[in-house]
């Protein structure tokens, strides 16, 4: 009870401070999500009710709960975001931030904010953009083009497997995608906090979505702020789809890709060269 009272007192004290700072800065930040317009002033209330304890009053990820959370809450003052439809090094679209908030981040403390109305979430996006001057000086990147998905054939999966080897995905994600590659234990994010590569064998959703298109987007835009780079300069769209089809076979899910892969593997397992360093896979 005493703690609760202190938190309330602290929060209301900070509200006064922030309001003063906000008035001085003359915030006029908006977000545009489809036909919805989000307003920072309204978003501030949403943020202070639902986001502040982790992301902090200044949006720098140093909220009261942050100490107890791993991975750490996003630092909005850097304006660096994992889940984007835009190229590495560019700001996400408003829709990207809205979608991340809506989806939440699986395997982290960030829940899916579906209980908030669309307007609430649009407003919160507008407010989040006030934490970095980059949102005033830079424009979001142009979303990457994702062509329609071709059929998931065994040929596509095998080509994708070749790319998994050639692009050296296995160095972090491991030869079988178990997140145990040779560099896995040394990975850190842009704040030097340890961060594990995705382990495909868990079958969990990806941080930035669950569909094949999401998977395509993840490695073509990279997850900024993390060790996961963009492969947009290295993979043509057809290559990228091949890689998507192969990656699906690494998950213990009843995907169409997995069925085709298992059926083929039953009679061809010996044809596969092991994935890993040249001259001997792991």
């Amino acid at each position: 009870m005493r703690l609760h009272a202190r938190v309330v007192a602290l929060v209301s004290g900070l509200t006064v401070l922030l309001s003063a700072a906000g008035a001085a800065a003359g915030w006029a930040q908006e977000s545009h999500i489809g036909s919805l317009t989000g307003h920072a002033a309204a978003g501030k209330k949403v943020y202070r009710r639902y986001c502040i304890l982790c992301h902090g009053p200044d949006g720098d990820g140093n909220g009261e709960n942050a100490l107890w959370i791993d991975p750490k809450p996003r630092d909005f003052t850097l304006a660096v975001f994992k889940c984007r439809s835009t190229p590495s090094g560019t700001l996400p679209t408003d829709q990207d931030v809205f979608d991340a908030m809506t989806r939440g981040f699986v395997t982290t403390n960030m829940p899916a904010w579906l209980p908030l109305t669309h307007q609430n979430r649009a407003d919160a996006v507008a407010y989040i953009k006030t934490f970095s001057p980059k949102w005033s000086s830079l424009k979001p990147g142009a979303p990457i083009t994702i062509p329609p998905e071709p059929a998931a054939t065994i040929e596509s999966m095998l080509r994708g497997r070749g790319l998994f080897q050639k692009m050296e995905c296995w160095k972090c994600h491991g030869p079988a995608g178990h997140g145990d590659g040779q560099s896995a234990k040394t990975l850190t994010d842009n704040k030097e906090n340890p961060i594990p590569p995705y382990n495909f064998s868990t079958g969990s959703r990806f941080k930035c979505g669950a569909t094949n298109r999401d998977l395509y987007r993840i490695f073509m835009t990279g997850l900024d702020g993390t060790p996961m780079p963009s492969f947009a300069d290295d993979l043509k769209p057809a290559d990228a789809w091949d890689l998507v089809h192969f990656l699906r076979t690494l998950q213990p899910l009843d995907t169409p890709e997995a069925a085709i892969w298992k059926a083929w593997l039953a009679s061809h397992a010996r044809d596969l060269k092991p994935i890993g360093p040249p001259g001997g896979g792991q």
């Binding site: 850097l78 660096v80 590495s88 090094g89 560019t90 700001l91 980059k134 830079l138 050639k166 692009m167 050296e168 160095k171 972090c172 040779q182 560099s183 040394t186 990975l187 850190t188 842009n190 990279g222 900024d224 702020g225 993390t226 060790p227 996961m228 780079p229 963009s230 492969f231 947009a232 300069d233 290295d234 360093p277």
Partner: protein, 238 residues
Amino acid sequence: MRAQYVAVLATLALGGSATMVHTTPSAGATISGKVTYTGTPPKMKPIDMAKEPSCAKQHATPVTTENVVTGSGNALRYVVVYLSAGDQASSTPGEAARYDQKGCQYIPHVAVMQVDQPLEIYNDDQTSHNIHPLAKVNPEWNKSQPIGAPPIHTTWAKPEFIPVKCNVHPWMHGWFVVLTTSRHAVTGPDGEFSITGVPPGKYTVTAWQEQFLSQTQDVTISGTETKTIDFVFKATPY
């Protein structure tokens, strides 16, 4: 290895002076000197590249970390010396700064460039690298560069000291130093630097070392003299 460094540094130096000739047709003055340390610098750690045999075999002698590289006579290498104030904004060099990933090292360890100057990043190795500049003022990005991939072309819009790392090879650390001036130099193995073509005026000269941070000195140039200024950093072992 050393020959490669010298070659790259020589190329950079040539590129730099060519630019200065372009921006200042008259010879101008030279600001030169030596950067040294007092105290005990940290010991550089040996790097184990066993997990990347294609890189390990490029190094006859073991490679060490490079955050404090010293030479004889207490010389400090890889210190960026530049005119931090008083320099008239010079036009952006069209010539690209070059950054190589070779033998799983960044060459040069510190690449200096001007705002908006083209930067070309090469992967000369038989392994994939991801190049991850941890910019804060400029946008942070992270791109994969597999074996045989073409160079990455980029520019930086704002001055910043940007740490660069490769997440695949965690020992790889380097710097992009983005300055507003074209009048800059990096100290060599002997700790010496030379900035040429400086027109008359009052300047602040800053020396920046990645671990010991910055020092400044004011200097007045009146003609085509050579001004000698030295910097001494106080080294601590950690």
